[in-house]
């Protein structure tokens, strides 16, 4: 790939090297003629937890969706464990490589917690196995284990619509555990929760990732959560990486320059106009 000058990797087989097993290389993404991401490059090693912070509209969600293979970048490449997620057609291989947890509304409210968690197996199961899972009283081992791991032991048969917001977030996490991808992508996993609960769930996500050696990319609304619990923090501003630092190197000056408002009034207008479509996607 000779699109842009690589930041860290130099050798062609760098993708299989532990240090930068996940490589985002010169990724640009345009929605029509609006630039959502502008030549973003960084890499991560196995088991690293990386938080993306920045104002809404900075491109966090777009970047995460590209990493998860849900969007194909306009230019540049994403390479996870040597594979480009958006190019993998085989569902089983793709879901083992990367899994995504969305902001909200991503569970099926009418189904039980157990069936929602089991949806993490759909990439691996045959159609008949997945139908049998719905219709027959089979063992739900992996799903029940995952629910127990996120603190919902014995509550597998409850309907998701009857669970609280925090419990629903745990079910979504259990589904990701059942899927058990190498790379976990989480878009605002705790956005709608109160601070204590948000903290607890981020800790849970981190400890699961650490015990299994999974790489995590997560956008986090609250920079304090990012600094407290993640290995690395990447600040995105106006479609660009503003800083990429180890969590303990991030200072309040960094945050201030990341979150300060635009100077000119007309730039402000342009920015808010851009925010809306990015949020909606």
């Amino acid at each position: 790939m000779s699109t842009t000058e690589p930041t860290t990797a130099t050798s062609p087989d760098a993708a299989n090297h532990e240090a930068d097993i996940c490589k985002i290389d010169g990724v640009t993404f345009n929605y029509g003629n609006r630039v959502a991401l502008n030549d973003v490059s960084f890499s991560a090693s196995r088991g690293q937890t990386i938080a993306l912070i920045g104002q809404s509209g900075a491109g966090k969600t777009t970047l995460l969706r590209i990493i998860a293979g849900m969007l194909t970048p306009t230019s540049g490449t994403v390479s996870l464990y040597g594979e480009q997620p958006s190019e993998i057609r085989d569902a089983s291989r793709r879901t083992r490589l990367v899994g995504m947890m969305q902001q909200r509304l991503d569970l099926v409210p009418q189904l039980s917690a157990r069936h929602n968690a089991e949806a993490g197996m759909l990439g691996r199961w045959s159609l008949w196995r997945s139908l049998a899972g719905l219709a027959l009283p089979l063992k739900h081992g992996p799903a029940e284990d995952a629910l127990a791991r996120v603190g919902l032991a014995g509550r597998g048969t409850e309907r998701v619509s009857k669970l609280s917001g925090g419990e629903q977030q745990r079910v979504a996490m259990a589904r990701l555990l059942v899927q058990d991808p190498e790379v976990i992508v989480a878009d605002e996993p705790v956005a709608s929760l109160d601070p204590d609960l948000a903290n607890e769930l981020i800790v849970l996500l981190k400890s699961i990732a650490k015990e299994r050696g999974r790489t995590v990319f997560a956008s986090v609304h609250d920079p304090r959560l990012a600094i407290a619990h993640f290995d690395r923090v990447i600040g995105l501003r106006e479609s660009d990486v503003q800083f990429d630092l180890a969590a303990d190197e991030v200072t309040s000056e960094h945050l201030q320059s990341l979150y300060e408002r635009f100077n000119g009034a007309e730039r402000d207008g342009a920015a808010t106009e851009m925010e809306r479509p990015l949020w909606g996607i």
Partner: protein, 300 residues
């Protein structure tokens, strides 16, 4: 063409001007200011004037009609009284109860068999008509259009008309009755199912796709659960309708409660008629209770 065009424009503008300029007071609408003025000074508004005109027209039409034997049957009031008093004294003799229970069973059997056929035909067609399983462009459109037009054909013909057609084909056989209910109801059920499946919220479906679900798995893990409660309660409502339809179809000679009601009416035996009608009501109430139970389980 130019003179013609101007002519057309002219006529339009005249019409337009007229519609704006004329004081249209009688029918509200354009004369809205008029109507409010009437109201303000206590005179009847445009709507009241219209009502008056229509009432006068109705009375005039009734007077002008020349119905042989008079407009109201002379014995009508008496018959109405008999029917009313019979309502409180239905015939509950064991003889009749036995036959009515048998008739109710026949009617219910027709309704259930018809609904079963409707579900068996309507559900697959509804899934195809929703187009949620196919992803390809042209093929998907073709399947959707085919299934949709079939469903439309089924439901655009009333069950009684289907009954006439099937009786003509198969004679007075139970199959004709079951088909007469099953075919139009399949059309209605399939259409409702297709719409509910399409309307399932997209976000959970996308999440299922991200965790590797195929479109068939998305159907069963995402769309069906989201559509189930609505479609099931609608199917129960349709079962009630099927009971009514089965009763009506038995008027045309398929046996059951409807036949009992007609023969009782022919004999002017209103007590017997009410017994059969109450049996019909009981079936509908029973289905309603069953439906409530199932719905509660679905929404548990």
């Amino acid at each position: 063409m130019a003179p013609n065009e101007t002519g057309l424009q002219l006529r339009w503008s005249v019409l337009y001007g007229a519609s704006r300029g004329l004081p249209v007071s009688a029918f509200g609408g354009v004369g809205e200011p008029n109507a409010t003025r009437f109201k303000a000074i206590g005179l009847p508004g445009a709507r009241a004037q219209l009502t008056l005109v229509l009432v006068i027209a109705f009375i005039w039409s009734v007077v002008a009609l020349d119905v042989p034997g008079g407009l109201v049957h002379s014995g009508g009031i008496d018959a109405l009284g008999e029917i009313t008093s019979a309502f409180f004294t239905p015939d509950l003799s064991t003889d009749l109860l036995g036959t009515v229970i048998g008739d109710a069973w026949t009617t219910l059997a027709f309704a259930v068999a018809g609904m079963t056929l409707a579900i068996a035909v309507g559900v697959p067609l509804g899934v195809l008509a929703s187009g949620v399983l196919q992803t390809g462009g042209l093929q998907r459109l073709g399947v959707m259009a085919g299934a949709r037009s079939l469903l439309a054909l089924f439901r655009s013909i009333h069950e009684i008309v289907w009954a006439v057609l099937f009786v003509a084909a198969f004679g007075l056989s139970p199959a004709a009755g079951v088909l007469a209910i099953g075919v139009p109801y399949a059309g209605i059920l399939g259409r409702i199912l297709a719409e509910r499946l399409q309307d399932a919220p997209q976000e959970p479906l996308d999440a299922l796709r991200t965790s590797g679900a195929s479109e068939t798995e998305v159907l069963f893990y995402g769309r069906v659960p989201s559509a189930a409660a609505d479609v099931v309660s609608y199917a129960f409502y349709r079962l009630e309708c099927a009971v009514r339809a089965a009763a009506v179809l038995s008027f045309v000679g398929l046996g059951g409660l409807g036949l009992r009601i007609t023969t009782a009416l022919d004999d002017l035996a209103f007590e017997r008629m009410w017994t059969a009608v109450f049996a019909l009501v009981l079936i509908v109430v029973g289905i309603d209770l069953w439906s409530a139970l199932v719905r509660r389980r679905l929404l548990r």
